[in-house]
Amino acid sequence: MTTETAIAETPRIKRDGFFGQAANYLDERTSISGVVKEFGRKIFPDHWSFLLGEVALYSFIVILLTGTFLTFFFQASMAEVVYNGAWVPLKGIQMSAALDSTLHISFDIRGGLLMRQIHHWAALLFVASIGLHMLRIFFTGAFRKPRELNWVIGFTLFVLAMAEGFTGYSLPDDLLSGNGLRIISGMIEGIPLVGTWINFLLFGGAYPGTAIVGRLYTLHILLLPAFVLAFIALHLVFVVVHKHTQFAGAGRTQQNVVGYPILPVYAGKAGGFFFIVFGVIVLMASLFTINPVWEYGPYDPSPISAGTQPDWYIGFADGMLRLMPPHLETYWFHRTWSWFIIIPLVILVVFIVLVAIYPFIEAWVTGDKREHHILDRPRNAATRTAIGAAGVTFYAAMWAAASGDLIATHFKFSIEGVTHTIQTALIVGPIIAYFVTKRVCIALQKKDRAIALHGYESGRIVRLPGGEFIEVHQPVDEYQRWELVSNEGYAPLVVRPDSRGRITAGTRFRAAMSRWFFEDRLAPLTQTEIEAAQHHGHGDAPAVEGGSH
């Protein structure tokens, strides 16, 4: 609609029609067309995994909408009331106003239960899609320069989302979430020296007090959403500034992006996709119960339910606690040191920090300062992929441990057996995953190379005039070969003396890490190698493939 010289040519724009006029009115006063044009021309490449971030965005929108609905009826108060609503097994029972209002939303507000269930299912989807999105970024190396900061921003969003979820499901003040809060409170108390005081600060006195729900509410609907929104905005600005990455392919270079412009194609698709995501969430929410607080009943510190688990995204932390051997406790300097809490806390923090700063670690090890806009196929970065697989295994072990009791009852194992198995898996699993993944990646690289050079095995056996039997290889076409061979060359850092002519221990360590990172890597094919192979290929089966080029 608008062109480079939008202002000068305004009179030529069709003035008939309400929208035309309205658009014009706006543009003349805001010059917004410049922004629309700039943004609208952004190119978005097509690959399903590039939509995962959008799934997260859309579920967040759904969460905002339904959450706002819930705020109209939810009362974040721990004042004791007597329930007198529609759910018979709680009639006449004392509970906090928070649970009372949640039950009210569920049973007496029209559409209230559906809203609660949409809000909660969307929350699960929100965190899950962020997780999967992050894995995509990791395994394709999309976090490399210039996108390292955006990785950190995205990871912060993941942590914020977990915090949103935890504060959210603790709001109704039911038995299940109360059990979860008690665990958190216990963990905080386990921090040496300051734990007890932090716990007092958080709960406004001894646990559980009467303040926590109100405080969580402020976090849940004000502070955390504000942070999430700000980080999402920042995240998206960075995506626009950096342009989108793309997989290698014919015509795709480090300098361009091949795909559809945001306006009109991509926006149309994305709009449609929003409704698909929304639809799936509503479908789940209308058919499947989530968080039936009416079954859990009011929180009271004495009853604990068997099978108490947090929502899935907190599971890894719960699992780490469950994996600790009991009785690890010492009494030093007139204080109890609860190692079974301190150790898991340290492990969790180290794990989270390592993931958050991984781009910087890898850049330091590889010494790579180039910009990367073409994604790696996971197999072509064997060491990174192997590290990722090890990390995923570690996380999965912690996660599985959180449901150890259910695994035991459902598969008829003893709970001790399950715990010991997962303890072993936590340590051995990542190591095995690392080596297996690395070998598999390298094998796949070799297979790609063979295909690029010699083509596919066609299964056709041909007898040459000389009596020799050969299998005909079907050569790959140019486009495919491009995808197969266009991985960039890397070389390990070598030890070099610094400006003062010294070789420090740090340099040596870095070089050693770098060698380890690149060990077993296949050097990229050179153009001559490819051409030589092509000629060789022709010689292989002259009679059959002769005319194909």
Binding site: I93, L114, L125, I276, S305, W312
Partner: protein, 276 residues
Amino acid sequence: MAKLNQPTTSGRSTSRKRKTGRRSPLATFALIAIGLGLTGGVYAAANATPSASADTASSTQQQVSDGEHLFQANCASCHGMNAVGTAAAPSLIGVGAAAVDFQVGTGRMPMAMDGPQAEEKTPQFTDAQTKELAAYVASLAPGPAIPDAQYLTGNTDAAAGAQLFRINCAMCHNVAGAGGALTEGKFAPPLKGVTPAHIYEAMLTGPQNMPVFNDRNITPEQKSDIISYLTYLEKNPSPGGFALGDLGPVAEGLFLWIFGLGSIVGLAVWITAKSN
């Protein structure tokens, strides 16, 4: 009751409106069928027990001697000739009719194989035979009797029952009665589908790793309230839709990852493939 049904429909009506065209006829039919089936089942169960315990109340000498024969044939190998116990199984002197009715009625006895705990099976004996066995064991020494029908109606104070359940039972059986793990492969079973009489007897006799809740601990009226609560849960399917086994966040998380995210990834693949 009527009041309760209201929220159920209102909570769902929004969603039903959305999809009326696609699912209503069959789904409504299925729901009615399930509802009828459940109510019918519970009604039958509730009806069966009173008549059964009426029998025991007037247990005859005939029953005791028939029970003795059954016992010698099926139970004595483990429990000893006069139920005095062996190295393989405890003495049954004084366990009462309630314990036998529970153990045999739920199929736990005769025990099938050595495991962490005697598990439920399809009962091997008819109801009459079970009562004969119970009468025999009760005749050896006084013990807890099969509960009175007045406590098994399932329509006393469910809210009080729920409260008692959360305090006394949830730590093993889970707050929604979905069951839970104990140590060394033992477990507290899910409580769906257990008859009121068996619930009562379980509390009264404390099978295996379950503690005994005697009448001073939880009065018969309170036991009856607990039964009413469990009956209520069973009769009223979750207002929120399918309950995913009442397993809470683990089931929800698995469902989300496999079906929720799974279908969204599938749709994303489809939407991006479409354009090419």
